[in-house]
Amino acid sequence: MAAEIARWLTPWEPLYWLIALFAIVAACYVRGLARRRRARDVLPAIAFFVGLASMYAVMQTYVDYYAQYMFFIHRAQHLILHHLGPFLIALSMPTAVLAAGAPLWLSRGMRGLGALPPVAGLYRVLQHPVISAALFVGLIYFWLWPSVHFTAMLSARDYWLMNLSMAVDGLLFWWFMLDPRRPGATPTTYSIGLRIIVLWAVMPPQIAIGAYIALAPDTVYDVYAVCGRAFPISPIVDQQLGGLITWIPAAMMSVVATLILLRLGFVHDRSTASPTEPAVTASRPDERQTV
């Protein structure tokens, strides 16, 4: 049993700097929670840790082995890296807790880095609604382009470039989408309506590529036959499952995010209408810092 657990926890391809990064973020967050001791941190903390742990699990445990040798598990891995994990992390608004837990030099350093004009400028460009949507969909299409996908699964360097670019873009996109501050609070806090348009704009292309893969009569990605599968399974079933994962849950995330944004808009409206009665469920706009 213990051996089995150890086998699952051992990274298939260890990236020590990545493990260290996850450990530092988790340690800062736990320390922040301990310092703040606020009951209202509990739910966000759960979302944060589920998001962080799921992203870690699909990259630095034995799950990665299956993701490399099974198309549908690879699609599930990207669903977590690009959608679910970053979504939960952004939803938990971890900046304040992380800042409370990080050593002073680190939180100061990060704030200083974010304030540098080139960094702030690049961030503003990446979070522009059109560019953000184009990157979100563009990366999915780019890495699923059959010839690109072929090389990415064969080259260790490209494989990690693919996974990490999905993770970073996922964080950027959902950070932009789920920003709880009042629209206009920062240059990258766009109106709720605009954000919902972006959420719905990224849905049809994801449905299209997912449906294309799921319904394709022939093999679209031969690299899984080239590399061998983790266990014998019909290539077409593998592909159909992968297509469905790209198609349905990925698009569903836009619907879920829309509901969250509608609620957020409602909270903003209500707190404007009756300023004396603070919206208890409102997110903590003051605590969120610009990256």
């Binding site: 082995y65 490399q68 040798y69 503003r124 460009v125 522009h128 059109v130 560019i131 072929f150 090389t151 699964m153 064969l154 080259s155 260790a156 494989y159 206009g184 240059p187 766009y190 031969d222 036959a225 080239v226 590399c227 061998g228 599968r229 983790a230 266990f231 014998p232 399974i233």
Partner: protein
Amino acid sequence: MNHRLPRRLFVVFALAATALLAACSGGEPEYNAHDIEGVMPDLAFNLTDENGNAVEADDYDGRLKLLFFGYTNCPDICPATMARIRAALGGLDDTTRENIDVLFVSVDPERDDPERLAQFTSSFGPRFVGLTGSQEQLKALSKRYRVTYGYGEPNDNGFYLVSHSSAIFVFGPEGKARLLVNQEQSVDALRADLKKLLERVD
């Protein structure tokens, strides 16, 4: 608050996208197969050959090497691929052919002992060598080339399927990774690639 992105940023993005496309399209590919030079590491392994001797990659130095992962009970891909390689080699002259080794690595050591491997490879010709090893040795070699294998559930007769890579990996005389040949490539295209590789080597 500035929600409008300056026009020049769009220009920068358009230029970047064009540059990326230009970089990706590149020139005419030299080989029919995928060129994996520099993408994959040099050939290295510790295995047992069909005569029961421990062998290393260095033992095959000086010749072009075609590496294939399979198992002798394989109902389709392995015999078909071996037959394709035999056909491709058949069109070469004797001296050229003698500069090529075909390494058939069985990932099913449970059933494929050296004797059985020798029987399997002998039906394809003298250039074919059967290799296998412990799970540890096989895992090390397959992971090195980012391929894998797995075993299905045995049926009532104890027969089980093995999933494995369907590609032929081609290595240069010094063990440098050169080409990856997949199932779609024709015998003629494979032969042309091998000829070209040997010419460049000489």
